[in-house]
Symmetry: C2
């Protein structure tokens, strides 16, 4: 599951000009920089100059591509475009000339680097024509858009007495939000976020976490000098670098004077900070990869999937603890040699819950008899072998059936199951356990005995664009073709996400279910959230927690997440279209859990003053 | 362009049974075998046996998956399924039991190896229900179907006097053809072709080259013993192994008695044969990769594409020779210091033809003046730099224009172009050169002066299934979405192909074109081919040759291919549906080249006694 990663941050050296390109690349390499960021157009060439018609210079606006091999262009050069243009000038002539210029530069840059990197600079929110011009054509490569993390004006203003402290200086996220909206969320356009001496508020930094950041621009002027006269970053800058690298594995672009004697130290320091603050995450390879949730009731899991889930380092210890407590609660010490507790494991898989129950019985020193019910015939093979080889001296009976159909010869004291999905009930645990409940004594215990789902509004550009492009992965299925890909719940290990407000509970289920028959598992809830900043909403993150027994709980709710628990990623529920939200506005979302005889659906309705969005989710019941 | 490959053939050891699987894998590894091929169901388990209802054994029809980790299952085990079943038995009970059995085995095999390999054996052409049963479900992995290369009966028959020599013994390709047709060309089903002591005729071996062969099964009994008592293969068997490995990079499955003392030698010998007969092919990485042809008139090429084409080791030498001959023919020795020859390079790219023309002039010792016409503004940058730096003492004039629009100040003696595609005219060379012809003197020379396209009917499963799945690559475009993907010409470096008959010429173009104005570049030709064996037709391979000047020719026609020429892969023209063809049958195909003011199309109509297929091809003219 772990993907090994060498933690070696890539740094590109930003050069105002590169007279001898090959030499500049070699010099940068000696400083440990993998590439250089240079203007596509060389200042040496006068672009307006046109000689006689036949021997014209009008084509030669820059240097020849023969300077480097195409491999080197692609890997070692980031081409800057549109350096001295104003695409949103009110003056027609300037605007039109700017359009022609930047399109010519992009064409030439792509001629050189193809699918590689280009780079341009955003100077304000007045960028409609700029965004449309660069994003309306079919970009082949990635266009990095430089955005400063704070508005340069705010630094100036704080020295001026005539400007009041809270007078609005537009924050630079607004620039970017305008740009990418005009660019219609073009996936080829990404952010090169430039650090500034000023550091924004925490919430403002978090808002960047949902955006498509690809590079972090580090100017030399933010470095301080330590006691040994070496350049270092302030604690605040360090923590931004660490946070953004952990989230995006972004690369770095160093802006410094080529004559600066500390050039090598800056690069070294950036690499050091990244390496030093690295926390090994075995799930790193799953970052922001959108997956369709498992439907174990419908599809039989395969060997490798069972293997991954069985590897969870804490889940089965918690189950074992819960069963142990339930056993000792149910059978007093004095009856331990006479009374046998009947445990039913419903959905036995390849036996991890059986193992937990047997261990719990041994630890609690109680007599147990186990029934294991499993519907997957391939897992039955494993369970049979385990019973024959490992558990032959224990009381374990194997039932090869769907749990909803099994008629038990005796009723159970404890019903153990692991049917929960990332949103709690989304793998149909309520329906399955209601069906299995007839196997439980009236005073019997269900482990888990309660689960609750939670959501919060979010902006997460990467998973959302995967959903929009219908690019999710479903490891257990050959290929997923779905025309309703925006009307579906997904799971993802979300890193690239801004959580707009704190999670709130949605649905709760309790087992055994004492409601009068027929049990009603439909639900409805309306939840209100509030945005503290201007932001964009493009979906909801979902979680769950569960009480296994008394104080033994499992949770993937971010505020109470069980340490080390790896079996569940959070849920992502996309909105078809992103919605602009103003600071202070309320987000009202209505969730329905609908039931039909063979289907279950969640209907979600999002509403505010101005807009209303509906999304439907359906889960098919398994073939029974 | 070259993809490096370690030539180390993979060998799997075929075991009738594997009592202790882990040990068998270790033993096989010591023999240099990467995997073992074993029955999914272990003989130790009686599948019919069912005990009392609650402690039933009915699920345990084989061993537990816990024997190996899932990684090892996937990489080191090929699971055989359907070993003792008869899915096409006339007896209902046997047939139905066989269906249940093989589906259970496939389900369990996929539980173990997921996207890995399964293996089954084909015993005759009566396989409709077998094929439907295994291929109608959604196969996750690859199902290898063992097919012997000759019918075992033919070996028996030649010993029996009562059977006449030419009495029909069905060849095994017919078995496979029946199976894959019933399986509707399922891409998860591939061939494990088993060698037999008998060797089929050459044409019959070639017919396998179009099929999806994934493995070659080598039984120990085909080995001979050499003077040193080591096992070797006959020359005939060696050449089959070499041919199939070169075509498919297939892996090997060794069938031998586990007690055979030569086991290690067999493996060693197979690896030796592959290594020894390996011919390094720098284009290997392109094998059977379907690409959409370039449209340089419509799309501007990028730096990397120019770089690849300029690297062709022979093309520009031939051009240089052609220009040199034309120069000496045109200017007699005595006029060499007084007469200047005007050469126009139309479509200069980054200058390879300019270089060839200048070299030719130097070698021929003739005075030349060059005009270079190029429409791509990014290539103009390169040409300008080359003229300023490299060719400043030569007479080279650069014209940044579409060649059809250029009004020359003087007319040319020689017009040089490289506008040919894999089918000759398919990049619109006739239209471009007709337009440029006004720049040529009446007695001027065009290089090339003639080109001809060729086709032959073929069966090529890999490129055809890519076309059907719309999976072609177009390196210069971000993404290709085409709903008319079967009505299009492709290029591919074809290896996995059976050529049903020899190529025949289709269209011919001559330059300068002396036809009366307006020139008519529409064409029509009806061509007849004959199948020498029963086979399947799923498309046509296309080629071209060209006379540059007099005896200087370039060709990708397979019988006259210019040695070392790498700029063009052959064409592939798919049929929407494969067509079964009987030996001796004629294949009649009609090709039209249609012209309109802004489009050109090829209409292809395929007809025979029974069927008639139409395919349309369109190429857009460039934006001019």
């Amino acid at each position: 599951m772990a993907s090994e990663r060498k933690i070696n941050a890539c740094v590109s050296l930003y050069l105002d000009t590169a007279y001898e390109l090959q030499k500049e690349i070699e010099k940068a390499a000696k400083l440990n920089c993998q590439s250089v960021t240079i203007p596509t157009v060389h200042w040496n060439f006068d672009r307006e100059f046109v000689r006689e018609p036949l021997r014209s210079k009008h084509g030669q606006f820059t240097r020849s591509d023969l300077l480097l091999s195409s491999t080197n262009w692609i890997n070692q050069v980031i081409c800057r475009v549109g350096e001295n243009v104003d695409l949103d000038s009110p003056i027609d002539r300037i605007r039109k000339h700017s359009e022609r210029t930047i399109l010519q530069e992009i064409s030439f840059a792509e001629h050189l680097v193809q699918h590689g990197y280009m780079y341009t600079k955003l100077k304000g929110a007045n960028c409609a024509n700029f965004a449309r011009t660069v994003a309306s054509g079919a970009l082949k490569g990635t266009l990095l858009v430089e955005v400063p993390i704070t508005n340069p004006k705010s630094a100036q203003n704080c020295w001026r007495r005539d400007i009041e402290d809270d007078q609005a200086v537009q924050d630079t996220w607004q620039w970017w939000n305008a740009f990418r909206s005009y660019a219609d969320y073009n996936q080829h356009v990404k952010i090169a976020l430039e650090l500034t001496t000023d550091v924004p508020k925490k919430e403002e930094i978090y808002r960047w976490l949902g955006e498509p950041i690809d590079a972090l621009v580090v100017p030399a002027n933010i470095f301080l000098t330590n006691a040994n006269n070496y350049p270092v970053l302030s604690k605040a800058h360090q923590s931004i670098v660490t946070l953004l690298y952990r989230t995006f594995s972004c690369h770095f672009i160093l802006k410094a004077n080529p004559g600066d004697g500390h050039l090598g130290h800056y690069v070294e320091y950036i690499k050091h900070i990244v390496q030093h603050n690295h926390v090994d995450d075995p799930l790193q390879g799953f970052n922001d990869v959108l997956e369709i949730p498992l439907q174990p009731l419908y599809d039989n899991l395969d060997s490798a999937t069972y293997e991954i889930f069985e590897r969870d380092p804490v889940k089965y210890i918690f189950y074992q603890n819960a069963i142990e407590q339930a056993l000792t609660d149910r059978v007093p010490e004095e009856e331990k040699d006479t009374k046998t507790t009947i445990i039913m494991v419903v959905g036995g898989g390849r036996g991890p819950l059986v193992r937990a129950a047997l261990n719990a019985a041994t630890k609690a020193n109680r007599r147990v008899k186990l029934y294991v019910i499993e519907k997957n015939p391939n897992a039955i093979v494993t369970l049979t072998a385990l019973i024959d080889e490992l558990w032959k001296d224990r009381h374990v009976e194997l039932i090869s059936k769907d749990m909803r159909e099994f008629e038990p010869p005796e009723k159970a004291d404890i019903l153990v199951s692991e049917l929960l999905g990332s949103f709690g009930d989304n793998e149909l645990s309520p329906e399955c356990l209601d069906g299995a409940q007839k196997q439980l004594k009236d005073n019997g215990i269900s482990i888990p005995c309660k689960y609750t789902s939670y959501i919060n509004p979010c902006f997460a550009v990467k998973v959302h664009s995967q959903a929009r492009a219908n690019e999710c992965s479903a490891p257990w299925k050959e290929r997923v073709v779905s025309s309703r890909h925006m009307e579906q719940m997904y799971v993802a290990y979300q890193k690239n996400v801004y959580h707009i407000d704190n999670p709130q509970p949605v649905f709760e289920f309790v087992h055994p279910n004492c409601d009068p028959d027929p049990v009603d598992n439909s639900r409805y809830r309306s939840i209100r959230f509030k945005a503290s900043l201007d932001c964009v909403l493009n979906g909801f993150s979902g979680y769950f927690d569960t009480v296994l027994y008394k104080d033994v709980m499992l949770s993937i709710h971010p505020f109470t997440h069980t340490k080390g628990l790896a079996s569940w990623f959070s849920m992502f529920i996309p909105l078809t279209e992103p919605v602009q939200v103003r600071a202070g506005e309320e987000i009202v979302v209505n969730f329905w859990r609908c039931v039909a005889s063979h289907k279950r659906s969640i209907l979600q309705q999002l509403s505010s003053q101005a807009w209303c969005v509906c999304v439907w989710f359906w889960d098919e019941f398994g073939r029974v």
